[in-house]
């Protein structure tokens, strides 16, 4: 068991955004967290990566308690978080955005190697290395965001709605890349999505949350086929 979330409670002022969530994600597997707007998905990820403090509960990673740790320290423990809405810095160039992910390692050769790997995965970024990130298309920005996370060499990758606002073809490509990162490189992935069908199709495990609570979790394929969940939460 690598990522373990136990009875997590997170509050925004008086509102309880996460109300006692528990789940586990096995090492090297891909888990999808599905829920509608306001279900608490983004808050969940922000708490896991240390941007938000938990009120109660515990998060552990590789057997270690990481509750309340700062994001910059979690990166050093192999956790990378691609936040909502193409998390790149538009004022920096593509190359600088990528390099940012590897700054903490302070190793030039490793950094160059990691950037090369990203270019292998997303050849389109290779052509735009010295362009500013704000000249990229939405899909390219999402690739850059995932690429930056990859440069930090994570063992656990948290992705917040990577498909948001992208064309279907690009979504397909992003999902395939995420699946590849998990299958070929052994990265544990926690994917948060509103696009239930696309996410569950590549996931091993599905976790459906609503109003800050887990309503169902289990094998992704079984969740897709559950008619009750379909109509109530998956929306298709």
């Amino acid at each position: 068991m690598t990522l373990k979330v136990e009875r997590l409670v997170v509050e925004h002022g008086a509102i309880r955004a996460i109300d006692g969530i528990s789940f586990e994600v096995a090492e090297g597997s891909l888990a999808a967290v599905i829920g509608s707007n306001g279900a608490g998905k983004t808050t969940l990820l922000r708490t896991l990566s240390g941007l938000k403090d938990a009120k109660l509960g515990k998060v552990s990673w590789m057997g270690r308690d990481i509750t309340g740790m700062k994001p910059e320290d979690l990166v050093r423990r192999g956790l990378a978080h691609v936040s909502e809405g193409k998390s790149v810095i538009p004022e920096l160039t593509v190359k600088e955005n990528l390099a940012l992910g590897g700054l903490w390692r302070n190793n030039k050769t490793e950094l160059a190697q990691s950037i090369e790997e990203v270019v292998e995965i997303f050849p389109r970024l290779g052509e735009r290395m010295s362009q500013r990130a704000d000249t990229l298309s939405g899909g390219e920005r999402q690739m850059l965001a995932i690429g930056r996370a990859h440069v930090s060499k994570p063992s656990l990758l948290l992705l917040d709605e990577p498909s948001l606002g992208l064309a279907p073809l690009v979504v397909e490509q992003i999902f395939q890349t995420i699946a590849m990162l998990c299958r070929d490189r052994g990265i544990t992935v926690l994917l948060v999505e509103q696009n239930a069908l696309g996410a569950l199709a590549i996931a091993d495990k599905g976790i459906i949350i609503n109003l800050g609570k887990v309503v169902a979790q289990g094998d992704a394929k079984e969740l897709i086929d559950d008619p009750a969940l379909r109509s109530a939460y998956l929306g298709y």
Partner: protein, 298 residues
């Protein structure tokens, strides 16, 4: 024509000092979203230290290095000691929005009073390290002196060091990333609380250089850098407050402009003009010449 070139060069000389102060203000603004009204106050301390060292040892270089180091130290202490507490406490309430302004103003007052207690309020003559006599070409003596040349060169070196630091080093990348988007920077592993302090350290050092240069061949008292602060602020606003390049260009443009006004219209119009420039820039192009649109209402 020769006259025009002279006035221009003098303008570049004074403008490069404004540029340094403007740079200091922008560095602080980028790292913590605060205009540091105590920037000139911090610089007055280091300038007095430099004056003391010059008087005792006679070495301008040593005074300069010491002042820059202390300037950085003060900047770091102010950020980690005062500003951090401030941001922790004043998260809401009617004063929250203006709290940083008030706190830095308070700091300015404390620094001035302490400087006055140590060195008294009487003006101190800060001798120029080099000749202030104008260069002689043929049989005409220019108003442009060795001191002006020294000022321009020093400022240029500081700016080159900063630009290499920001554009070519890992630290620079971390500083820029933290300035543009602290959250993404943190998620990438940048220790943003540290980059904030570093921003103040660099600003303190830049301000120290500005303080020494502007005081050379002039009188020093606890209030003598007020004008430098205001012109530095105007330059920073003209440059957009976000951009380091803008800060430098803003300073140079202001320096040259005011130099021409001083020469052709007289000293008494310098302040009103600077103020009018400030108001016009804010009204016509609120984001400054180099700024991003819409940045100012936040």
């Amino acid at each position: 024509m020769q006259q025009v070139i002279n006035v221009f060069l003098i303008g570049i000389s004074i403008g490069s000092i404004y540029a340094l102060m403007s740079l200091a203000l922008v560095l602080v603004w980028r790292s913590t979203r605060v205009v540091n009204f105590a920037q000139a106050g911090q610089a007055i301390v280091t300038t007095y230290v430099a004056w003391e060292v010059v008087n005792r040892s006679g070495s301008f270089l040593m005074a300069f290095i010491l002042a820059v180091a202390i300037g950085g130290l003060i900047g770091g202490l102010v950020e980690s000691g005062m500003m951090r507490t401030l941001f922790k406490h004043a998260s809401d309430g009617p004063v929250a929005a203006v709290a940083p302004v008030i706190a830095t103003l308070g700091l300015l007052g404390v620094i001035r009073a302490l400087v006055g207690l140590i060195w008294t309020n009487e003006g101190k003559r800060f001798e120029s390290p080099v000749s202030t006599a104008g260069f002689v070409i043929g049989d005409t003596t220019l108003p442009f002196s060795r001191l002006n040349l020294l000022i321009i060169c020093t400022a240029a070196i500081v700016m080159i060091v900063f630009s290499i630091l920001f554009q070519r080093t890992n630290l620079g990348l971390a500083l820029r990333a933290a300035a543009y988007n602290p959250e993404i920077a943190r998620l990438s592993g940048v220790k943003v609380s540290m980059t904030r302090t570093i921003g103040w350290v660099f600003a303190g050092a830049a301000g120290a250089v500005a303080g020494i240069l502007v005081s050379s061949n002039d009188t020093l008292n606890p209030y003598s850098l007020d004008v430098l602060f205001v012109f530095g602020f105007v330059a920073a606003v003209v440059g957009g407050l976000e951009s380091l390049v803008g800060a430098v260009v803003g300073g140079l443009v202001l320096g040259v402009g005011l130099s021409f006004i001083t020469f052709y219209l007289g000293t008494s119009l310098v302040f009103p003009t600077a103020f009018i420039v400030l108001v016009i820039v804010l009204l016509v192009r609120p984001s400054g010449i180099f700024g991003v649109k819409g940045a100012r209402s936040a």
